[in-house]
Amino acid sequence: MVDPFHITEITIEGFRGINGLLPLQFDDKSIIITGKNGVGKTTILQAIEWCLLGKCAYMEQDEFGREDAIVNMFHPDKKARVIMRLTDGKRNYELTRERKVGKSTKGKSELLLSNEKENYGGTEAEEKLAEILGISQEQFYAATYLRQESIRDFVVGNAETRSKVVDELLGLETLRQLSECIPLKEVETAVRKAQKEVKDIEETKFQALELARKKLTDYTDELRKKGFTEKKLTTGNLVLMAKSISDDLIDTASTMQIQAPKFETAAESLSSLQNAYRKLSDYFHDIDEKRFEVFENAQRTRANHQKYFDKYVETLDKLLEFKEQDPAKLQDKLDKTTEQKEETERDRNEVIDLVDFLNGEKATLKSLATESDKAKSKLKKLVDKYGSVEQIEKAVEKFDEETKNETRLKKEIGAYTQLLKSAVDYLGEAKPDKCPVCSRPIEHTSLRKELLSHITKAEETKIAKIDEKIDALKDSKKEYRDASSDIEELEEQVKDLEGQLLSEAEETEKKAKIKLKKPVEDHLTKLIGDLKDSARKLDDKVRGIKDSLFEIEKQLKPLKKALDEKEKLTEEIQEELDTKDTESKLKETLQRQIKREDSEIEKLKKIGDRFPSLRETLSNFKEILEYLAEEQRIRKLDEEIPGAKEKVDVLNKQSEKLQELFTGLSDISDALRTEKDSILKSTLDKLQSDISSYYSRILAHPYFVNVQLTPEEDKKGSVYRIVAYDDAKRFSTYVQTRFSNAQTNVTALSLFLAMAGATTSRLGILVLDDPSQSLDTEHKKALAKILADESKVKQVILATQDEEMTTLVEAATPRTQLKSITIQAWTHDHGPELGS
């Protein structure tokens, strides 16, 4: 390998996961670093990146600013160091980059660069390295180092960054920067600003002067028409006019009994006269308003008083119509008649109440009499049947006596029967042939039979009859006792009803103040009829009184209304005029007041006559003032014209110079763009051809078979878009919008490899970190073949955990061009442990 620089050896210590010393010999070959995840493959690639650039692009996030991710935290010296040897076949350089642990990953590192003859350090070393390798950071990441995490970034990431890199690769970056940095808009704005300033001066000075002159001529014509000669159009005349107007205003105010302000004499200057005009005009409007207000009030008051007068006269005239009527007498008559009406109504109500009472009493007495008669009838029937209570008592005693007798008889029959039963028993047992009492011979069997017959007869007939008779006696006794009780009860009831009848009759007599005659019902019926007649008569009387009352009220009501109105109106007028006068005196006072008000209104009218002339004088004053102000303005503008002309000349010259600058810069900008387009046309074709070639070799999209970098102009300038086309180039799409992950990765690899081929830098290495992610076997095969081809012209440094990819790369690349480094494991003390 000759010409571009490549790495022959690298020694890493204390860098990220590499704690011990890790020397790696690259032997002028491409390198494939294999091993499982997390054993330190990427760290070796990052060590190359850090040594060349002093940074790791991957470590940009916020967290890396919070701790040092470069220096291994267990390294005894707390120091990271990467020593790398580079050669282009003729020149050999050794790079040593190291740094001590810091608080952040972004801490600065120290670079030493040396060869057989020279040593460089610090900034000098960085500059020398850039000069030797001729590579920018952007180029490094776009065409030298394909990071694991950014494999797709170039395709899907920011179009501006991508465009910057492409321009750098194509040698267009300077032209791009130059084109973009020429502030054409600012120059154009400056030209327009200068032109506008010229226009403003022309408008505010030259045109304004012309307009002011025309305006002054119009004022002069107008004032001449009003009879103002040139001599009158002076400040001196205005001073006299101001004095005359102020005198008139003070006089008018005095007539209106208003305290006028003090008007100072105006000086012969426009500002003083303008000030005087403002004050006079304001005061004129104030007192004009006041006059109008006073006039309105006077007219309103006068109309109000006239209304009072007319109404008062009308009220007094109306009262004259009631001249012969005495309201007091009418009222007395009304009161007495009302009293009579109330008394009659009271009597009538009493009669009606009595009728109602008697009707009630009549019904009560009738009901009591009916009940009493019923009780008496029942009593009579019982007495007729059972006799009086005493007679019933005797009958009951008799029943008791009979019952006793029957009971005794029943006992006697019982004893006789018992005796016979004893004899029967004796005859049955002793069977004697002689009588034990008289010793006569007896036939005991027949005797016993005969005795048994006696017993049966006595028990069956006699005792049953006696029992029947006793029961009948008991029933009779009970019936008589009940009758006796009923008689006593009825007697009590009759007595009670009789008492009630008597009591009701007494109460009726007492309340109605009458003596009831029998038959009471008939008497009451007659009495009620008489009372009803009496009530009807009283009703008629009440109606008559009501008619009288209506008549009296009819006379009294309008009289009272007229009197009330007069009283109310009198009070109002007295209060309005502040007087105690009444009747005709009050009428006269009111008349005098109206006359005074008429005279006041007349006076105000005369004052009002002064105002039109005052207003005209003020208007003339204002017009003359405006004329003089315009005249002064013209004088001032006339004075300013030479200066303005000078200023316009200067601005015109500035405008011309700025226009020249703008034209020159536009010309340069166009030339830069033309040059850029020309280079782009000749170089982009090659790059696009390479992209398409790689893309088709790594088995691309089944439909969009071509991928190209297409320059487009947008708001921010020219950008390169990545566009895919179908075979006939009839349809296109942006890769980001339609491609799968694997297809996007293939596109990214194609772009990376094409750009790596286009780079003009002298660093001949191609670093790829796990490029086979998302690729299937076919894609991997194609990529392995491409990398094998690349290893003929560049040092490919590939890290992968993909065993299939390793096998494919090793199979595709001759052993003379490729060295395999296997990392077996990672240990805390040392870091990556290399295989044999």
């Binding site: 940095c181 502030p183 120059v187 200068a194 110079k657 700025l658 340069i668």
Partner: protein, 54 residues
């Protein structure tokens, strides 16, 4: 102006429509060579200010 800018100056000058713009181009390339895009912008702004102060 450094030598690396000379070929560019030559190429762009050829593309200008008016020859008098060549000196402005030379200034512009010098500014760019000295301080990049920022210097070009600043210098043109300064030119505008100088003209306006005349």
């Amino acid at each position: 102006m450094s030598r690396r800018m000379e070929p560019l100056q030559e190429r762009i000058t050829k593309r200008l429509t008016r020859r008098e713009h060549a000196s402005l181009l030379k200034d512009l390339l010098e500014w760019f060579d000295e301080g990049g895009s920022k210097k070009v912008k600043d210098e043109i702004k300064r030119q505008i200010e100088l003209i306006r102060k005349d």
